[in-house]
């Protein structure tokens, strides 16, 4: 399935450890399973993680810096994840280089070439706002900002959004990750509504805190491959929303508090403003 127009989407956050890589992997798998040709590109040079989360580290022969330096072609660096049929590929980051070893022109060229083949290019952006981040965002058509419901993550996300706006990235959307509804109800955690209000960008989705996401990352098998898992639907809803498929009804996440776990996690809180 192809939309006829390829899109490069950067996943960024400012703060590290908020769940960018895990979310990107799960949403990438979901997009591929929906029929879109998807490539996941790890731009975190020197701190490679995406291949670990996907359980393919033993299949990596070449990386994005090798492509940039002409050591290999893009095709040689692509690793197919056959669990998604032929739709999902990964390009790993280099473990041994520094971010400055990948020039912005080379990175832009790689993205342009990938656009010839793939519907979606999901770019895993390094934490921070320095060279690696700027390289990653400059080639993006859309940015997804990942935030945890806590003050320092929100502050860093705001900083990042300011930079994205200056770079004239028109589509900037938000995912709140590791949300705990019960804590929010008790006012021990900032609410999704307040986060959206503070950051002033559109909400794409909310992912609740769930230990199984961590466990699946450690196993190298993203939740999006477990179609009976309660958390599965959250990632598919976001993927469908990204792909502009039928608008999901906005559901009040608050209503799920007294319902069973199964019903609770089936509701996703997607707001279209």
């Amino acid at each position: 399935m192809s939309l006829g127009m390829s899109e490069a989407i950067v996943f960024t956050s400012g703060k590290g450890g908020v769940g960018k890589t895990t979310l990107l992997a799960n949403i990438g798998v979901a997009l591929a399973n929906l029929g879109f040709k998807t490539v996941l590109l790890d731009a975190d040079i020197g701190l490679r993680n995406l291949d670990i989360v996907l359980g393919i580290e033993n299949k990596i022969r070449f990386n994005v810096v090798d492509i940039a330096h002409g050591i290999c072609t893009i095709e040689q660096a692509l690793v197919k994840d056959h669990r998604s049929g032929n739709n999902l590929s990964i390009i790993a980051a280099s473990q041994s280089h520094l971010k400055e070893d990948l020039s912005k022109d080379a990175f832009r060229q790689i993205i342009l070439q990938l656009k010839n083949t793939f519907d979606y290019i999901l770019i895993d952006c390094p934490a921070g706002i320095e060279y690696g981040f700027k390289n990653a965002i400059r080639s993006a058509d859309r940015a997804i900002v990942i935030v945890n419901p806590e003050v320092s993550s929100i502050r860093d996300a705001d900083r990042v959004i300011g930079i994205l706006e200056l770079e004239k990235i028109k589509k900037i959307q938000l995912i709140v990750n590791r949300y705990q509804h019960d804590l929010s109800q008790k006012m021990d955690m900032i609410s999704v509504k307040d986060i959206v209000e503070l950051l002033g960008i559109k909400l794409l989705g909310v992912i609740p805190e769930d230990i199984s996401i961590l466990l699946s990352s450690n196993e190298g098998k993203p939740i999006s491959y477990h179609n009976k898992h309660p958390m599965y639907q959250f990632f598919y809803d976001i993927a469908k929303s990204l792909a502009g498929q039928k608008d999901l009804p906005a559901q009040d996440f608050a209503k799920s508090k007294t319902e069973s776990l199964w019903k609770k996690v089936k509701r996703s809180f997607t707001m279209n403003r």
């Binding site: 502050r155 705001d158 900083r159 959004i161 300011g162 706006e165 002033g200």
Partner: protein, 217 residues
Amino acid sequence: MPKSTIPDQAVTFKGIEQGILILLDTTHDYEKLIKLAISKIKANKKFLSENTLFVRGAASPLDPDELGMARKLIRDKTKMEVLPLPWKNDSPSTEQLSCVDDSIFTPPLLASNALRAGQELRSEGDVILLGNMHPGSQIYAKGSVYIFGSLRGEVYAGLESNTKAIVVCKGFSPLQLTLGGFKLPSNPDPSWLKQYVVVSIQDQELKVEPQNEFGYE
């Protein structure tokens, strides 16, 4: 390296049209300088109390912190008020207005988007922000600051001791705020986030005045 004592002439008095100007030679240790100024004011209190007192750096301008410190210590120890005299000339009647004149005749800086963390605005005059000011952002203005949104960042308004400057916003919860050299003394009241607020200097004090509540959802 500060000397153990400072020369008497590090603090001098000069008669000017509107009063007495205290000149501070800031090449010396500043705390010792203020102590010397206080002792000289006390020694001549009877004469000085009949005049309006001003203070200024002798060879270079006092920065806002230095000026604030000098005024507070002199006020506390001598019960006498000293007014700032900006650097430019010796005519206080025009100079006292010059900070306000500057902000009147300098066009305001207008920004039309939210001011996000890490961003700052600087103006020789006023600042008008048509959006929210997020935590982690900063505004520096010699004049007033008007925010058509919530104020949650750091605002330094009325720089160079412009005590006629004001701050106005729709929702007040600054990380830091200084106006005309006066610092917000305590944490803001959470209810101010739902009100229009005007901040001004009145009777040598920084006053925060909530106005009407607005519909804040």
